[in-house]
């Protein structure tokens, strides 16, 4: 007699199945989005070919993608780093604004040669992002206050702050809702793609390399997977938590600095295309590998760029957010289902 079939849940899923489940999730989400578009009267095949053509058909399209990848690599890295120690940084959006704010302060008000100003802006971006996550970090480290909510609430504060200075004290008399052009800017090396891209890639390689191969990285991952075991083994849990969360904030702040110094060139409201929130998606898809962060940032850049290209069809960055949410939802389900296998009972 044949054995009966039953579902069995494995403690860990095989990477191959997880990858396949994720690919399926992305395809399903895009197909679903296409069906919705078709229901509104658009022709999804036509739109898709328009998107592919506009993204890869010209060097301009590739340049747009290259520019969008920069902040997404860094916000994705920011979320991924915090995840390594078991913390949810949902505040990358706010830290992005804080980094941009601090860098703009330097760029607007500190006189000096451009190279020096850029270096100072770089530091200011890192510090701005780290300062923005400081209170949630300390609250988590000393009071075990849920950092997911505190980091998120500060997003609204940062956006209000940037909006305020851009329309008031730092306002350009001509522009009304933005600051004057910053004195220094990051040079471009290919079309509109600036040196922020190699910096972001380097940052991703450096940070994930440290996490994977250094003693510090080993201890951080240990805390992330089992804090009490790490504590028992003599790992300074609280110190690592504080360092890693501040690093996470600093990376998101750097994204904001690169964005205003390389792409936007002035501080204004709405500089982030939800980069902080899309970074969550990048981090989840990447499963904390550097190559993963770069690839999933490229994927999210493509999806975001598609939304921007299709603005004439009534799509917005909010539509991109909705599609991203659907991908995240299906990915979470896929990750769980990948743990199951069908086993045959010996009868």
């Amino acid at each position: 007699m044949a054995g009966s079939l039953r579902l069995q849940r494995l403690p860990s899923a095989s990477p191959g199945i997880v990858l396949a489940a994720r690919a399926a999730a992305i395809v399903m989400a895009l197909v679903f989005a296409g069906i919705i578009l078709a229901m509104t009267g658009a022709n999804p095949i036509e739109l898709a070919s328009e998107v592919v053509d506009a993204s890869f058909g010209s060097s301009f399209g590739m340049e747009d993608l290259g520019v969008l990848i920069i902040p997404l690599i860094l916000t994705g890295l920011s979320v991924a780093v915090a995840q390594q120690i078991g913390a949810w940084n949902i505040g990358a959006e706010g830290q992005f604004y804080a980094g941009a704010f601090a860098a703009a302060a330097v760029g607007l008000f500190v006189p000096g040669p451009p190279a020096l100003i850029l270096a100072l802006m770089f530091v200011a971006g890192l510090v701005g992002g780290a300062v923005w996550i400081l209170v949630p970090t300390l609250a988590r480290a000393y009071g075990n206050v849920n950092e997911l909510i505190t980091t998120l609430l500060l997003n609204f504060v940062a956006i209000l702050l940037v909006y305020f200075v851009a329309t008031n004290a730092w306002r350009d008399k001509m522009a009304n809702s933005a600051t004057p052009r910053l004195s220094a800017e990051i040079p471009e090396f290919w079309g509109s793609i600036h040196w922020g891209l190699p910096i972001a890639i380097l940052a991703a390689l450096l940070v994930t390399g440290l996490l994977a191969f250094s003693r510090w990285g080993y201890e951080v991952r240990l805390v992330g997977s089992n804090p009490s075991a790490a504590n028992y083994a003599g790992v300074p849990v609280r110190r690592h938590l504080i360092t890693v969360m501040l690093l996470s904030g600093a990376i998101a702040g750097l994204a904001g600095m690169l964005e205003i110094a390389g792409t936007v060139h002035r501080l204004q409201g709405g500089i982030s295309n939800n980069y902080g929130y899309l970074g969550i998606m990048v981090a989840v898809l990447a499963r904390s590998s550097a190559v993963g962060v770069i690839f999933s940032a490229a994927l999210m850049a493509f999806i975001l760029n598609s939304g921007i290209i299709l603005q004439t069809q009534g799509l917005t960055t909010s539509t991109v957010l909705a599609i991203t949410g659907l991908i995240l939802f299906l990915t979470a389900i896929g990750d769980e289902l990948a743990h199951y296998r069908i086993a045959r009972d010996k009868a």
């Binding site: 849940r9 504060v157 009534g314 991203t324 995240l328 979470a332 990750d335 769980e336």
Partner: protein
């Protein structure tokens, strides 16, 4: 209207939004599921209500359709997290992204449109003549009484005074023990997560049918997240959840009154008050009084999927 009356009137309106959303989250978290989709559910509810009253100008229909759409999205979330047992944090964030994204995409057609029908204030005889609190609380719309009296008292009774309430709390504290005692863990989790989501969407509808009454992109503005934080602050109990909603309504009202009266503080900074206030209220008590941690403790099985076969 004098300053105090205006302050309290706005506090009850703004606080009602937070209170209703927080009640919904209490339901989900009490049975052990963290629903971080509140912000998205509120956006969906807010838009559904506006769209519904644009078609049929009845606030009741607007509110009920928001509840229905909220329950639908809630059931989707519950299917993923309770039945398939996918990661609750990821699914919740996904729900927030989806809800906010869908609402603001569809909402472009309704942008700036005032609600065609709103809940009219009802003057309670005699009580509405009491100074300050009379006009502020006893001359308000019908939903306000539902949010501040009927729901919290009813839910509190259900949770802490009935057999069923004991069961549902057991599911949130120790699902394996509850299961062994014959309580249908999956069914209870599914039902309460769905009902809680409906209330969150209802909070969004309340926002666009009474408080703001119009749709604009980003109208929810983080209120869903504040509601999630309030649940922690309220120690996962219905009556404190509603009271802390009122407290934050008061903080919001302070910002509005400040803007209207031209206080020498920039509106942007007054708008930051609810977010910073929420931060302070969930951080300070824990750091100040160690004892608070035990009183305010979360249900033990919160955020943990339950696998019967893995016991």
């Amino acid at each position: 209207m004098d300053l105090l009356t205006g302050l309290f009137t706005t506090a009850f309106l703004a606080g009602g939004v937070l209170a209703l959303a927080a009640l919904g989250e209490v339901l989900a978290e009490r049975v052990g599921v963290v629903n971080l989709g509140v912000e998205g559910l509120m956006a969906i509810g807010a838009l559904t209500a506006i769209a519904a009253v644009a078609a049929i100008p009845s606030p009741t229909i607007g509110f009920l359709s928001a509840l229905a759409v909220g329950a639908l999205f809630g059931a989707l979330f519950a299917f993923a997290t309770v039945i398939l047992r996918a990661n609750q944090v990821l699914c919740g964030l996904a729900l927030t992204l989806m809800g906010s994204g869908i609402a603001s995409t569809i909402g472009r057609a309704y942008s700036g449109m005032p609600a065609r029908a709103t809940f009219a204030p009802i003057e309670v005889p005699l009580l509405s003549k009491i100074p300050v609190i009379g006009p502020a609380f006893f001359s308000q719309n019908i939903l306000l009484y539902l949010i501040f009296i009927v729901l919290p008292v009813g839910l509190s009774y259900l949770m802490f005074r009935t057999r069923h309430g004991l069961n549902l709390r057991a599911v949130g504290e120790n699902p394996a023990a509850a299961d062994a005692a014959g309580i249908p863990v999956t069914l209870i989790r599914f039902a309460y997560v769905t009902a809680g989501s409906a209330l969150a969407a209802g909070a969004g509808a309340y926002l666009t049918l009474t408080f703001v009454p119009s749709w604009s992109d980003g109208v929810v503005a983080g209120r869903g997240w504040i509601a999630v934080a309030l649940v922690i602050f309220a120690g996962y109990r219905p009556i404190p959840a509603v009271l802390s909603g009122l407290l934050f309504g008061f903080i919001t009202a302070l910002g509005f009154v400040g803007q209207a009266r031209g206080w020498p503080i920039a509106p942007a900074f007054l708008s930051m008050l609810p977010y910073l206030g929420t931060m302070a209220f969930i951080i300070v008590p824990v750091l100040a009084w160690q004892r608070m941690r035990r009183i305010m403790a979360a249900p033990a099985a919160i955020g943990v999927p339950y696998y019967r076969d893995l016991r």
